[in-house]
């Protein structure tokens, strides 16, 4: 995607792009989900379960989760590098962040494929 013309360190541009692409994906998904919820006021378990049983919904949700994780990683990393000036503390927080994101990812897989 990013040509070498920008040199070795083009992480800024990549992050910026990912942040935007993931945002658009999440926007589309959440607008869709909200629309569904509003159109189904008395939603029951069967309907809800059926929705998440479809392959399409599973894939869409997975894509959403992936976007969410990348989006959070970049966003939270930015927040940490802005406010946390102690390198050690920042390292700890970042490791914790990374682990949580991994846990969230597998939890999401487990939830979705448990349906």
């Amino acid at each position: 995607m990013v040509k070498s013309v920008l040199g070795v360190n083009h992480q800024g541009l990549t992050d910026w792009l990912i942040q935007r692409v993931s945002a658009v994906i999440m926007m589309l998904y959440s607008v869709g989900l909200f629309a569904y919820l509003i159109m189904h006021p008395g939603l029951d378990y069967a309907e809800w379960h059926a929705l998440f049983s479809s392959k399409c919904m599973k894939l869409a949700t997975l894509l959403f989760i992936l976007s969410l994780l990348f989006h959070s990683w970049i966003g939270m990393w930015t927040v940490f590098t802005d406010y946390i000036k102690s390198f050690l503390l920042r390292l700890v927080l970042q490791v914790f962040l990374l682990l949580s994101l991994i846990v969230f990812f597998f939890a999401a897989l487990w939830i979705l494929w448990g349906v």
Partner: protein, 124 residues
């Protein structure tokens, strides 16, 4: 003589125009949403486990305190959503001038508040 130079950085003495407030709220709401992730995942798991769990969850979430929590989550989400749209628009030069920037900041604020109120009505 003092070695370490002070900085004038008492945030309460500095005036922040609306676009700046929009921006910091975007960050705060983002961090809040991150913290909500495990809760939402937990709720999703319960809602999809069984009809019993689904109903339990429904009941649990109907308590006023939980409704408030949901409203908080939705507020952060709605705000982050619209402030995010503002960012995307700025990337294509919409609202990146002094006047238009203030106008779009105002719009972001108004639209977010309207939707947050609507969300409140929807929940209750």
């Amino acid at each position: 003589m003092a070695k370490q130079r002070p900085k004038n950085l008492n945030l309460f003495t500095i005036q922040f125009p609306l676009p700046a407030i929009i921006s910091i709220l975007h960050r705060i709401s983002g961090v809040a949403l991150f913290l909500f992730i495990p809760l939402v995942l937990g709720a999703l798991k319960l809602s999809l486990s069984s009809a019993q769990d689904f109903d339990d969850l429904h009941l649990f979430l109907s308590s006023p305190l939980m409704k408030l929590l949901i409203w908080g989550f939705l507020s952060a989400f709605i705000y982050h959503f619209f402030a995010g749209i503002r960012h995307l628009l700025m990337d294509v030069h919409v609202g990146d001038e002094l006047k238009s920037g203030q106008l779009f900041a105002k719009l972001t604020m108004v639209i977010s508040i309207v939707f947050i109120l609507l969300a409140g009505i929807w929940i209750w």
